[in-house]
Subunit: 202 residues, 2 copies
C-alpha cells in the first residue's frame, strides 16, 4: 500500500508549506490545487466555483415559518451540487492514493482515505503567528489590517470546520481524528518537515 | 539555553516509553520518578505520598450548608501541603532544565518551564490501544478485566487533568498548550521517537 500523508490545517498555520516541503523531501506527489483542477475537468464547472464549494458546508434547503406564512429558504450553494462534487472529489482522492505515495492537502482526505491508514496531520498555530504568516505571504498589493485578517482567518476556518463536519460527522481539529497535531507557533516548518519525513503508520 | 522536551501523556498511551526512547537517542537526562525522589528528599515525605499528591488536584476546604447547619468539609489531601510540594517540584524542575538538555515526563513541566520554551509533547491514543498497552505492560500477577482497566485509565487521567488545571489554569490535553500532540494508536513509539529527535523550537 502506498504511503499517504494528509494535511489538514488552520488558515495561516503553514500547513500548505509543510505539505509541499514533505512532498519535496520524500520525492512523492503533492496534491492541493490539483484536486480542484481535476474536479473542474470532470464537471466542467469553473475552478473558482469548485474551490468555493469544496471549502463550504452546503446549506440544506428547508421550509421555515415566517410569521404565519410558510416559505422556503434556499442558500446559494446547492446541496445536490455540493454532494455530487464531494463524490467526484472522493473518487479523485482515492485514485491519487492508489497511484503512488503522495501528500494531500485538505478536502477531507484524512477521512476519505481512512481505510488506507494515511498519516493524518493537523497543523495549527496561535492567532498572532497566523496573522504574521498571512502578512509575510500576502501579495504586494494586499494590505489587510490585523482586524481584517482575524476576520478572514476565522471565516475560512469556520467554513472548513463546517464542511468537514458535514461530510465526516467528525470534529475538524479534534486531535482524536489525527495521528499528529503540530503547532507552528514556536517551530519552523522546515524543522517540522525534516522531522516528519520519518513518520509511518503501522 | 538547554533543549528541554516535556512529555504529558494519557495513561496507557506510551508517553513514558516515548520519553525514555527520546532521552536515550538524544543522549540526554531523563526525569520522571526522579522528580518524586527529589521532592521526597527535600520534604522527608514518603515517595508514595508525594507521588499520590503530585497527580491529584488538592481539594480546597470550604464551609458548606447542609440542611440548616453549617459544616466544614475537608478532604484527606491537604491544600497547603499540595501547594508547598508544587512549589518544591517547580524549583526542582527548573534546576533540571538549567543543568543540561533533558526529557521531563509529567508534573506540569510544560507549564513550569514555559519561559524556557521547551518542546511540549502530548501523547494520546484510542481507548482500545491504551487497554492493549496496559495489558502488555502489566506485571505477571496482575489480571485486570477490560472494564477495570477502563475505570483505572479514566480515574488516572481525570486526576491528571484536574491537577494540571488547578496549577496551570490551562486545559490538560488541549492542543493549544502543546507543540506536538501525537496519537500512538496507529504509530509505533519507536518510529515516533526516531522522528521527534529532529524537533526543535525557534
Amino acid at each position: 500500500m502506498n504511503t499517504v500523508i494528509t494535511i489538514s490545517r488552520e488558515f495561516g498555520s503553514g500547513g500548505r508549506e509543510l505539505g509541499r516541503r514533505l512532498a519535496e523531501k520524500l520525492d512523492v506527489a503533492y496534491y492541493d490545487q490539483e484536486i480542484i483542477s481535476e474536479i473542474s475537468k470532470h464537471t466542467e464547472l469553473s475552478e473558482q466555483y469548485v474551490s468555493q464549494i469544496t471549502e463550504k458546508r452546503p446549506y440544506i434547503p428547508f421550509p421555515i415559518t415566517v410569521g404565519r406564512s410558510l416559505s422556503a429558504w434556499y442558500n446559494n450553494i446547492d446541496l445536490q451540487t455540493s454532494v455530487q462534487i464531494f463524490s467526484i472529489q472522493k473518487q479523485i482522492i482515492e485514485e491519487m492514493a492508489q497511484k503512488s505515495d503522495c501528500v494531500i492537502v485538505g478536502r477531507c482526505a484524512d477521512y476519505i482515505l481512512r481505510d488506507y491508514r494515511p498519516i493524518r496531520i493537523f497543523v495549527y498555530g496561535s492567532l498572532k503567528s497566523k496573522i504574521m504568516r498571512c502578512k509575510n505571504n500576502a501579495p504586494e498589493q494586499e494590505h489587510l489590517s490585523d482586524k481584517d485578517l482575524v476576520r478572514e482567518i476565522n471565516r475560512i476556518d469556520k467554513n472548513r470546520a463546517e464542511y468537514y463536519h458535514f461530510y465526516t460527522d467528525q470534529e475538524w481539529g479534534d486531535k482524536v481524528n489525527y495521528d499528529i497535531c503540530v503547532n507552528t507557533t514556536y517551530m519552523s516548518i522546515k524543522d517540522i518537515s525534516e522531522s516528519f519525513i520519518k513518520l509511518k503508520t503501522k
